[in-house]
């Protein structure tokens, strides 16, 4: 086995002897006999070369998206990461460090996190960001809990088009507060929420917060949102925003958002089968003391030099315990570092150019799929950026995507809740996204294969 535990048996024995013990067993004399274990049954250890071969053999049963024409998207983005980004993440002073509770020894990570916070503040137009949460969905959950602290009521409104995973996470974050989550219906033609219906829902009273997303769960940019804040008054508005989209869209803080959260994995981290991800969180200054998670602030050291430290810690669990604003301790610092290094490597113009390039591909894709009998692409008539929902009018979305997969195309993912009895039962939708890994050739292949695949499916009854 690799030498991950130092010293030879003689040295260990010498350590035992020095503390007056005859053998290692005596170290555990305080563990009662009746709860002691025999073997665990996890098998023998291995040499590093065997570990690499074993893991590689298992991983060879995966078929990474790089081997497909890949149109998968949603909150998690398969995106090209410049090599420079990972070279920074591999600096082991960063990745083997702990939470910077000793600021003097941790200025590097603290400054990087301060830069990360500044970048999310710039993109969102809000006053302050924290140093990360687990992922976009839990960040939405925390935004709901913050809303509950700053506004009366027990009703929280979300769009019915929100991805099912986020709805489920929100439901779980609501459990302890007794809050009720209500869904705002979407217009069948545009996929948008309706301003008047939203106003009516708020006017019934007891709404402590509203959450919307941009792009929304169908990939669309809903212009209605720009007028939402004036319609809901003092009710806190949470916006779930895609960071790349914010390089070309106006900052939600400028159109009334009180809290902006999002999924940041697409900036510098691989999808890694869904984790680790990066929860982004920003809010208004007056709500900071009710907000979750670690926050880095600038200050000075004893010699007047600029320095950084964790601050506002009295909100946090290690100090406030049951009255903390959140239970979060471990966050996603290394991915926050990835986020700021990626954005800086690509640069602000590069980010906007990337979004434009993906949007152009998405438009080409929509044109190619739009003429196919059995699909409605895009399903909704509204502006979009790099992704959009497609309706499958013949057969199921899953069946259709399976047939594409056999031709080495990952066409997207079904939007329905996969739990039995939870699907909406309506026409089947999937989300398809333009990625950097597809071009005109892959788009043409997608369309051609889709046409063939659907030609063999009987029409809707």
């Amino acid at each position: 086995m690799p030498r991950w535990i130092p010293d030879d048996p003689e040295t260990e024995l010498a350590l035992l002897t020095e503390i007056g013990l005859a053998n290692a067993e005596e170290l555990f004399s305080d563990v009662p006999r009746r709860i002691r274990l025999g073997r665990m049954g996890v098998g023998p250890g291995r040499e590093e070369i065997d570990v690499v071969r074993t893991v590689d053999k298992i991983l060879s049963r995966n078929r990474p998206y790089t081997g497909f024409a890949n149109f998968l998207g949603g909150r998690i983005s398969p995106r090209f990461v410049p090599a420079a980004v990972d070279s920074i993440l591999l600096r082991s002073e960063f990745y083997t460090s702990y939470t910077p509770y000793q600021p003097e020894a941790s200025q590097g990570m603290l400054q990087a996190l301060f830069e990360f916070q500044s970048l999310w503040v710039e993109l969102t137009g809000l006053d302050a960001a924290n140093a990360s949460l687990y992922d976009g969905a839990t960040a939405a959950g925390e935004a709901m809990l913050l809303s509950r602290r700053i506004h009366e009521g027990d009703r929280f409104l979300i769009p019915a088009s929100l991805p099912w995973e986020e709805k489920s996470v929100l439901a779980n974050y609501a459990v302890g507060t007794g809050a009720r989550i209500e869904e705002l219906p979407f217009d069948d033609r545009t996929g948008r929420i309706d301003l008047e219906q939203t106003k009516t829902a708020v006017a019934k009273g007891g709404v402590f917060g509203i959450l919307v997303d941009v792009p929304n769960g169908f990939g669309h940019v809903d212009e209605t949102l720009l007028d939402l804040k004036s319609a809901i008054g003092t009710v806190p508005l949470t916006v779930v925003a895609d960071p790349l989209a914010l390089s070309v869209l106006s900052a939600p803080g400028d159109w009334g958002a009180d809290i902006v959260v999002g999924e940041g994995q697409g900036f510098g981290a691989s999808p890694s089968f869904g984790g680790p991800l990066l929860g982004l969180f920003a809010c208004r200054r007056e709500h900071l003391r009710f907000s979750p998670g670690r926050i880095v602030g600038a200050t000075r050291d004893a010699e007047g030099r600029r320095a950084f430290t964790l601050t506002l810690q009295t909100r946090e669990q290690h100090i406030r315990r049951s009255r903390a604003t959140s239970n979060i301790c471990t966050n996603q610092s290394l991915l926050a570092l990835a986020f700021v290094v990626y954005a800086t490597t690509v640069g602000p113009k590069g980010l906007a150019a990337l979004e434009r390039s993906l949007s152009e591909k998405a438009r080409t894709l929509a044109s190619a799929l739009g003429t196919i009998d059995g699909l409605r692409a895009p399903r909704f008539d509204a502006p979009y950026l790099h992704e959009f929902a497609v309706g499958v009018t013949r057969g199921t979305a899953k069946g259709f995507l399976d047939r594409l997969r056999r031709k080495k195309i990952l066409g997207g993912h079904p939007l329905a809740d996969p739990r039995p009895g939870r699907g909406d039962g309506g026409p089947e939708l999937f989300l398809t996204a333009a990625t950097e890994f597809v071009g005109e050739k892959e788009i043409a292949k997608f369309a051609k294969t889709a046409r063939t695949a659907l030609a063999h499916v009987p029409g809707a009854a």
Binding site: I19, T54, M109, G275, L288, N331
Partner: protein
């Protein structure tokens, strides 16, 4: 060893280039986006060359402690060596280039890794049902409490069982998670660093939802009366919750299942050596008894014949607690760690971690009092109270240790010990390092009050004014101009 940390006075990244504000040409040319939804100017962020970016962040990295540069005796954090082979494997295309929404047929290897790790963790914890969905330990705590709550609801007792009990040595996340899950919390006082079983017996009732316990606890002590504790909690109809932060001490010795716990969370970023990443990501584990297993988050990973699939047909499940199935990249690292160590390696880990704590505890006990019994598990406590006579606080000692090239221990926790220092040297630290730290500790603790107050001097910056940071909030570029020292 003489320690001098890099001191670059490195500018903030936007100070390296002229400020932005350029017209957002790209945004202007995306069709269909309403004019008033467009960002008129490109994000105000610097345009830098790749070398400028790499040099900036490399310099910052050199102003940061990591396990690879210095021993990190943080109690309860288990700062052990993060194996390089795990970093290599997690970056394979077959692990990194997988989208969680890919069809099951294309991610059989990933599901197999999850399944194998869950199976092994069930054996290690003695709890049969395992989910890797939590992003971190506290996230697992929260999910477990939601599971307990769902179970109580199913028994029709939700109106009554609203109280979570925990010892005063509990990690702060425990009461915070319980409160978030809608429970009230009540602390049970400790006697000699362990749960006062008489007080627990007096506290349990038909209102008790759960008792949350870390064993060994944060004083580094094994709660030897765990059998009686379990009987007491179960006798009142409550659930026993295991905070697995300190599992590193008991691998192969005992486990939560054998001790009578109903549900547990583990931190793969502690016991299973996945890197802490400057505060995260971690990876949490939920392990549950047969009774609580049905409430675990969806989906569960199942094996049918030789293939693996995701099971969403779990009617009692609490649903999702995050996007995806967990921090797979970290799960993979932990699996490589587990494969390497195997049965004997895991046992050796705990033997050595406990040996390190007892050896170092005895050495450092010469300089500062140890508040409780001296047979400890993976960590031990010291009290800095005697230093106060010279006007020195535990904080000063911690800062002085930085100058010796060691990270400071955990300080001021648990709160039942005055001026606490909590010290943990995991199994990957050698005798040479233990002796080196003991010598450094002696130099620090016997240093003059003036030096202790002035510390640290060898770090990138001197003592940081945390009070000023909280009083004048400067949380992003927007807020700079910097605060002035008062």
């Amino acid at each position: 060893m003489t320690f001098r940390q890099a001191r670059y006075d490195e500018p903030l990244v936007w100070e390296l280039a002229r400020r932005g504000g350029a017209a957002n040409d790209a945004a202007a040319t995306i069709p269909g986006i309403p004019e008033r939804f467009r960002r008129a100017k490109a994000p105000d962020w610097p345009e830098l060359s790749e070398l400028e970016v790499v040099r900036h962040y490399t310099r910052l990295s050199q102003m940061n402690f990591g396990i690879d540069t210095s021993a990190y005796p943080l109690g309860s954090c288990t700062m052990k060596y993060n194996p390089k082979v795990s970093e290599l494997l997690a970056r394979r295309d077959g692990a990194a280039a997988l989208h969680p929404y890919q069809p099951e047929e294309t991610v059989q290897g990933a599901l197999e890794i999850l399944w194998r790790l869950e199976t092994a963790l069930a054996k290690i914890t003695g709890l049969p049902e395992v989910s890797l969905q939590p992003a971190a330990g506290a996230h697992g705590e929260y999910a477990a409490l939601l599971m307990i709550r769902a179970h109580i609801q199913e028994r029709g007792e939700l109106a009554k069982r609203t109280e979570v009990l925990l010892p005063d040595t509990a990690h702060g996340t425990n009461p915070a998670s319980a409160a978030m899950a809608g429970f009230t919390t009540r602390e049970i006082a400790s006697v000699d660093g362990c749960v006062d079983v008489a007080a627990l017996k007096a506290a349990v009732s038909d209102r008790t939802a759960a008792f949350m316990l870390t064993n060994p606890n944060t004083a580094g002590l094994f709660e030897s009366q765990i059998g009686e504790i379990a009987e007491t909690v179960h006798g009142a109809g409550g659930m026993l919750y295991y905070d697995g932060a300190n599992l590193n001490a008991i691998l192969g010795v005992t486990n939560p299942g054998r001790m009578g716990f109903d549900v547990a969370h583990l931190n793969l970023h502690k016991t299973f050596a996945t890197p802490h990443g400057g505060g995260g990501p971690g990876a949490g584990v939920l392990a549950a008894s047969d009774v609580l297993g049905p409430y675990l988050p969806v989906p569960r990973v199942r094996k049918t014949g030789r293939s693996f699939h995701l099971d969403y047909d779990r009617p009692k499940s609490i649903g999702k607690i995050k996007t995806g199935y967990g921090n797979f990249g970290l799960d993979l690292r932990a699996y490589a760690f587990l494969l390497t160590h195997g049965e004997e390696g895991l046992r050796h880990i705990s033997r050595r971690a406990v040996l390190n704590a007892n050896y170092l505890g005895q050495k450092l006990g010469k300089f500062l009092p140890r508040p409780f019994r001296t047979l400890v598990k993976h960590e031990f406590l010291l009290s800095g109270t005697p230093l106060k006579a010279n006007g020195v606080r535990t904080l000063d000692l911690a800062k002085r240790l930085l100058d010796e090239g060691y990270h400071a221990p955990t300080i001021y926790f648990p709160s039942l010990v005055d001026e606490a220092l909590m010290i943990e040297f995991p199994e990957t630290e050698s005798r040479r390092e233990l002796d080196g730290f003991a010598a450094a500790f002696e130099r620090a603790v016997t240093d003059t009050p003036e030096h202790l107050h002035a510390a640290p001097t060898a770090t990138s910056v001197r003592r940081v004014d945390e009070v000023l940071a909280a009083r004048q909030l400067h949380l992003s570029r927007k807020d700079l101009d910097l605060p002035q020292p008062s």
